[in-house]
């Protein structure tokens, strides 16, 4: 089987890894969802960052940049010995957009967490995954005290393409978070079988 990296890297088969991204605005419940449904692990990443407010046009190398570490949400669900699902929370701030492309590469799909009190915070994630063509579902996290909306109301407010699942959830509940992931996987399967119908042969 051809692999992208084949320089004598014939490693014994490890488990198949499936990557799912958990996106959404700050405080929408990404961390809570990952923690409720998976074995969470601490993961730090870091990048050289430019200071957007100063020296915008004069940066010419890494030496002028600062480095920061970011704690990422990272969880794993061992489905079988040979099959593991990894959850990665996408960093919420725009200065970490560059990390999204890497996270999205090879991902099965994404969950966009939405908080109805701050629905606009989920727009960038929805836009990103739509543009990228990555299957995603919207999970409306039902916070205590927040007004409840129907999924269809949220769908209209987010101007979602028809067919994209919108589910209400309580990210603190394992079963609820699990159902969100199941919805995503089933949606991804549906998209795959649809595309096979449309492209014969």
């Amino acid at each position: 089987m051809p692999y992208a990296n084949s320089d004598q890297d014939a490693v014994a088969d490890g488990p198949v890894s499936i990557k799912i991204l958990i996106a959404g605005g700050f405080g929408a419940g990404k961390t809570t969802l990952v923690a409720s449904v998976s074995e969470i692990k601490p993961l730090r990443t870091e990048e050289a960052l430019s200071e957007p407010s100063v020296l915008v046009d004069t940066l010419d190398g890494v030496e002028d940049k600062t480095t920061t570490t970011v704690a990422m949400d990272f969880g794993r669900i061992t489905v079988r010995d040979d099959l593991v699902v990894y959850l990665f929370g996408t960093p919420g701030q725009h200065r970490f957009w560059f990390m999204w492309d890497e996270l999205a590469l090879g991902a099965l799909g994404a969950v966009v967490m939405a908080d109805t009190r701050r629905l606009a915070d989920s727009f960038p994630s929805v836009d990103y995954f739509e543009r990228r063509g990555l299957p995603f579902v919207v999970a409306v996290n039902c916070f205590d005290g927040a007004k409840r909306y129907h999924a269809e109301t949220v769908r209209a407010a987010l101007d979602l393409t028809a067919g994209i699942p919108v589910v209400l959830c309580d990210a603190r509940q394992r079963t609820s978070s699990r159902d969100v992931l199941v919805t995503l996987v089933e949606y991804a399967i549906r998209l795959i079988s649809d595309s096979e119908v449309m492209t014969p042969g």
């Binding site: 089987m1 692999y3 992208a4 990296n5 004598q8 890297d9 014939a10 490693v11 014994a12 088969d13 490890g14 488990p15 198949v16 890894s17 499936i18 990557k19 700050f26 449904v37 692990k41 601490p42 993961l43 730090r44 990443t45 870091e46 990048e47 050289a48 890494v62 480095t67 920061t68 570490t69 970011v70 704690a71 990272f74 794993r76 669900i77 489905v79 079988r80 099959l83 593991v84 699902v85 990894y86 990665f88 701030q93 890497e102 996270l103 590469l105 090879g106 099965l108 394992r174 079963t175 699990r178 992931l181 199941v182 996987v185 089933e186 991804a188 399967i189 795959i192 079988s193």
Partner: protein, 120 residues
């Protein structure tokens, strides 16, 4: 405001890890995927001559292990681990296999995933 929520300070110092990489912030060669599988080659090495982090990677990767798991278990930032791994690959200490993307479109595999998740 929002910026204060990020864990820049509490996430710990980054100077020490980058001392480990000789100040480099980018690995050589192709990008190592977050879920690339790393395994020790079993090359004979004198562990006393290696950086302790190299030894830790070798020990952790006797069985193939994804990069993200490795970084988490070593408690090192991802970027640092990638640089370590690219160096170790050059020295024949580890093999790195990028994840097979094509498996993601296997409906049978995905049905297995959905079924397993339902049982959680």
């Amino acid at each position: 405001m929002r910026g204060d929520q990020w864990l820049d300070r509490s996430a710990g110092p980054v100077v020490r890890p980058y001392a480990l990489t000789g100040g480099r912030t980018r690995p050589t060669g192709e990008t190592i995927d977050l879920l690339a599988l790393v395994s020790s080659t079993g090359a004979t090495v004198d562990e006393l001559l290696l950086e302790p982090e190299y030894v830790a990677v070798i020990r952790q990767c006797r069985q193939p292990k994804p990069v993200a798991d490795l970084a988490s278990d070593l408690d090192l930032p991802l970027g640092v681990v990638r640089i370590l791994l690219s160096d170790m690959r050059e020295h024949g200490l580890v093999m790195i296999r990028q994840p097979a993307r094509n498996r993601l479109t296997d409906p049978k595999l995905l049905k297995d995933v959905a079924d397993a998740l339902r049982k959680l």
